[in-house]
């Protein structure tokens, strides 16, 4: 037993605990906190100290090394670096990157070359927005200034190879043709990109070369044409999933519209048929069913410009491909149309299929009113011009319209009935479920209008009529139950009233008896 003591003592001895991190700042950093401005006030205050204390120990040590190496030159420089209150990860990158350290030092750089949280206020270059820069998808993956500008972030001085990678300033602003190839150095290299984002495509440049923008820029040397930075920006590039990104689905209409909705900028550009390229697409899109879904309802599944035109390979879809573009989402309507009589007629006339009836950028939410054989109606006006002697078509249009109207009216009539029954305490859930089926059938029936054939249409309408019949049966059953309850109540009221009358008579009899007893007692 005695022999166990050393072992117990050994087990009882705790492993040396790591020293607690008390947020202490390196001595050289502490010295900067003592620096004062010309008014005698400390340059670095409690805010900066509190932020510094929150940084991990190794980052604080990194700041200390920078101060010792004079890459952080003084209190004002440190204040500029701590000002945006970056995340600890961003801070660790920044304090080990000499490019950024130098371009944040107000003592050694001209204002125009300084990173700033508010470039306008500090008269800095607007591309040097510090907050945007640290949010950039490249920066967050470790690609900093040197990645594009050249040089090395570890070196203390700028070397000539930095300037060598870029065209001269006046040239690179006038001629933008160098940009796609420059970005493609990495983005067209699958083995390089695999190391960062294996799922990101690397065919952007090849697609771009075939796009209208690419043809204009690379073949016709038109530097007004959009290239990478036109849509993605320069510093502050974010992935398409970021709400702040210029290529987020909800931002794309504005990004494209930046040029395409500007008549001055687009002046001179023409369509294939020689007519001027319109600039009302953005306005039309905003009013369209797609635009409202995307921009107002926030439905990210709704199409933006790139959904129909492509992004890097952006081109206006040809007449032959418009219907295929629409079919990527509206596949069922496309299938119905393919089997319809209209298919051949449209091909014969070389009409774009969907666009002919629904329009393009300003596609309104289709209503049953579109199906009209009136002379100014959608069907009527076209048929009057192209298929005059075909009364069967007009009858079919009227049949579609009236069948849909019957289904819709039935739904509108039955829903308030269900609501009224629900307030009466009846179980309306099966009725609501049946009404949902009816709604689904109406959607299907509307889609089947694209068969332009009674037989095809009736497959949907029949299901709708069955749903109406089912709902009506459920409503009638509920009404029957309601009558049963009412009759039950009336019978109960009758029985209880009868019992109450009997009890009332008994009470009267008892009262009379008590009065008689009282009188009898008083009478001598």
């Amino acid at each position: 037993m005695r022999g166990l003591w050393p072992l117990l003592l050994l087990l009882g001895q705790a492993a040396p605990a790591p020293a607690p991190d008390d947020g202490k700042l390196p001595a050289s950093v502490e010295k900067l906190f003592e620096e004062k401005d010309k008014d005698g006030k400390p340059i670095l205050g409690d805010t900066e100290r509190a932020y510094m204390k929150k940084l991990p120990l190794h980052t604080r040590e990194l700041v200390g090394k920078d101060v010792d190496a004079l890459t952080v030159g003084g209190a004002r420089h440190l204040k500029a670096l701590l000002g945006p209150e970056l995340s600890s990860q961003s801070a660790a990158i920044i304090f080990s990157d000499n490019c950024i350290l130098c371009h944040t030092d107000p003592e050694s750089q001209k204002k125009i070359h300084l990173f700033s949280s508010d470039p306008k206020a500090t008269q800095s270059n607007e591309l040097l927005n510090f907050k945007n820069f640290v949010s950039d998808v490249h920066f967050r993956r470790g690609l900093s200034c040197a990645g594009c500008h050249g040089g090395s972030p570890e070196k203390d001085v700028m070397t000539p190879d930095i300037a060598a990678r870029w065209p001269k300033a006046d040239l690179r602003h006038a001629d933008r043709t160098w940009i796609p190839e420059f970005c493609a150095r990495c983005h067209a290299d699958p083995s390089f990109m695999r190391g960062f984002n294996p799922s990101l495509p690397t065919d952007q440049l090849s697609k771009y070369k075939e796009s209208q923008h690419g043809i204009l820029l690379l073949q016709q040397k038109d530097s007004k044409a959009a290239q990478c930075v036109s849509c993605h920006g320069v510093h502050g590039i974010r992935g398409p999933k970021s709400r702040l990104s210029t290529v987020h689905p909800q931002a794309i209409p504005e990004t494209c519209g930046h040029c395409h909705a500007d008549p001055k900028y687009m002046a001179g550009y023409k369509k294939d048929d020689g007519t001027p390229l319109p600039t009302n697409q953005l306005e039309g899109f905003r009013k369209s069913v797609h635009g409202k879904a995307l921009l107002e309802k926030g439905d990210l599944g709704a199409p933006a410009c790139n959904s129909c035109h492509g992004n890097h390979a952006a081109q206006p879809p040809k007449v032959s491909s418009i219907s295929q573009v629409c079919r990527t989402c509206h596949s069922q309507n496309g299938t119905f149309f393919d089997g319809s009589k209209h298919k051949q007629a449209f091909e014969a006339h070389r009409w774009p299929e969907c666009e002919k009836c629904h329009g393009k950028h300003e596609i309104a939410k289709p209503t049953d009113g579109l199906i009209s054989d009136a002379p100014d109606g959608l069907c009527g006006s076209c048929h009057a011009q192209n298929a005059k002697d075909n009364p069967e078509c007009n009858a079919t249009a009227r049949y579609f319209r009236s069948s849909l109207a019957d289904l819709v009216t039935a739904g509108q009539r039955l829903r308030p009935e269900a609501e009224e029954l629900a307030t009466r305490g009846l179980d309306a859930e099966p009725i609501y479920a049946s009404l949902e089926e009816l709604n689904e059938d109406i959607v299907q029936t509307r889609s089947r209008v694209h068969t332009f054939d009674r037989g095809g249409f009736d497959q949907g309408a029949k299901a709708g009529r069955e749903a109406v019949a089912k709902t009506e049966t459920l409503v009638q059953t509920a009404r029957k139950e309601q009558r049963y309850r009412r009759n039950g109540l009336l019978v109960s009221i009758g029985l209880m009233s009868f019992l109450a009358v009997v009890m009332g008579l008994k009470i009267r009899e008892l009262s009379q008896r008590r009065r008689a007893q009282e009188q009898h007692r008083r009478t001598p």
């Binding site: 009466r424 179980d427 859930e429 109960s492 009221i493 209880m496 009233s497 009890m503 009470i507 008590r514």
Partner: protein, 469 residues
């Protein structure tokens, strides 16, 4: 000859059964007690004597309908809501039983509150019935407990959030607040554990408790009889025989209550739609969903809910809700101890001060309840009600009705003790009409009430306060 034949006729089955039981349990004493039991007549309306009975009737309905619901209700995260849905939609007459249970619960509380206030105003609590009042007060508390615990059981959105808000107020209690909150909820948040607790409370703990307290309450009434009117009001008339005269009347009223219940259940199966008095199942509770505005507890808790809202976040050294709950506790303690405070009534003397106290309590609670209902606030589904407009409208309603009541008391019943109700009306007027802060208005009203008490007692020592010896 005939007499002899009668005497020799064999006793009926009923008679033989009675004799058999009487030989064992001495039923004769009970029969003799019932035969001589009387209900006092005169002095005031007989109506007030029936209210305890109607409360008992609704309680019996609660037990019966509750047991039927229990045959199908399954507590659990995946079953509570679903089983209630099943009861409403599939179980034959399930909708009827649930609706009866809900309606009867509210009618029971209404009947109980009226019974309590009538007892207060008629001074039926006076010596020797102090314990009857105390057990009645206990029954009131248990009934509220039934309401609170039963509310959560359907596990729908409304009940979930109302329980979350209701239990949260407990947190403000000093020292034990957080502990009590976790005991009530079965954890820091309202979860299915809370439902299990409330279920156990609703169907086991509270029923056992209420049977015991109600047993005592009824026993006291049987032993002491119903309280007669005060001596100065009482005419010299013989009482009404309890059996069968009073009992038949009582049963007739029960029948009318049943009839009322049936009509209400058919016409308004989910309640009248007043906040705190509706039980449409709606959506299933989702603890992750955000609470929507306008969640309110049941109507009988609304005055406390509104009082909590009237208090600021901090009041001196205390938190606002803490101070509000302290005030409620003090008021409740005063209410419970009324039989011991009202010395005049205990000697059989008129005690208008406590009559006025009851009226003041009604004014106090009515104003808060109306405000909690946002009456006149112009709130809609998208717009929050305007508290100032609410206070204005509610104040005028309360001032109109209560002034009329006080006027009738003054002119018809010749009551001169109006200090408390007057102060309560002043409180309402200051807050609702003139926009004075609720607590400031309350403090002013309290000072006025104290001054009123002092002045009235100086002017007429026999009017309300203890007469100087």
């Amino acid at each position: 000859m005939i007499e002899t034949e009668r005497r020799e006729a064999p006793p009926s089955v009923g008679e033989r059964l009675y004799r058999w039981l009487d030989a064992r349990f001495r039923l004769g004493r009970l029969v003799e007690f019932v035969r001589h039991k009387e209900v006092p007549v005169g002095g005031h309306s007989m109506v007030w004597y029936y209210l305890g009975g109607t409360t008992l009737f609704f309680f019996i309905v609660q037990i019966a309908s509750g047991v039927l619901l229990l045959m199908y209700y399954q507590p659990g995260e995946a079953t509570s809501y679903e089983s209630i849905r099943y009861i409403i939609a599939r179980v034959p007459f399930g909708w009827l039983i649930r609706s009866i249970h809900c309606w009867s619960a509210h009618l029971m509380i209404i009947s109980l509150v009226v019974h309590m206030f009538s007892t207060m105003i008629l001074k039926a609590y006076r010596k020797p019935r102090e314990l009857t009042w105390l057990t009645g007060f206990g029954l009131f508390g248990i009934a509220l407990g039934f309401g609170f615990s039963g509310y959560l059981l359907p596990w729908n959105e409304l009940s979930f959030f109302a329980t979350a808000v209701g239990t949260d107020s407990v947190k403000s209690l000093p020292v034990i607040g957080q502990w009590l909150l976790e005991v009530m909820r079965g954890g820091p948040d309202v979860t299915i554990n809370t439902l299990y607790r409330f279920f156990a409370l609703h169907i086991v703990i509270l029923p056992l408790l209420i049977v015991a307290v109600m047993g005592a309450h009824l026993l006291f009434i049987q032993v002491q009889g119903m309280a007669p009117a005060m001596r100065h009001q009482r005419p010299d008339r013989p009482g009404l025989r309890f059996f069968p005269d009073f009992l038949v009347r009582d049963l007739l009223l029960w029948l009318v209550c049943l009839l009322l219940l049936c009509v209400l259940v058919y016409l308004l199966p989910y309640g009248p739609g007043i906040p705190g008095m509706e039980w449409e199942l709606g959506k299933k509770a989702n603890p992750l969903a955000p609470a929507y505005p306008g969640i309110k507890p049941e109507w009988y808790f609304l005055w406390v809910y509104q009082l909590l809202k009237e208090f600021p976040a901090h009041l001196g050294p205390m938190e606002g809700p803490q101070a509000a709950l302290l005030l409620v506790t003090v008021l409740m303690a005063i209410w419970a101890l009324v039989p011991f405070l009202d010395r005049r009534a205990s000697r059989g003397q008129s005690s208008p001060m406590f009559t006025d106290l009851a009226v003041a309590a009604l004014i106090f609670m009515a104003y808060l309840t109306l405000k909690a209902w946002d009456i006149g606030g112009g709130g809609t589904a998208t717009k929050l009600p305007d508290p100032r407009a609410t206070a204005w409208t509610c104040a005028w309603i309360v001032l109109g009705v209560s002034s009329a009541v006080d006027l009738v008391r003054f002119l018809v019943y010749r009551q001169r003790w109006l200090a408390f109700s007057g102060a309560a009306l002043l409180h309402v007027a200051l807050n609702g009409v003139f926009g004075v802060n609720y607590l400031v208005a309350g403090a002013i009203a309290m000072l006025v009430a104290i001054a009123g008490v002092v002045l009235t007692s100086r002017k007429n020592p026999a009017a309300g306060l203890e007469a100087p010896k």
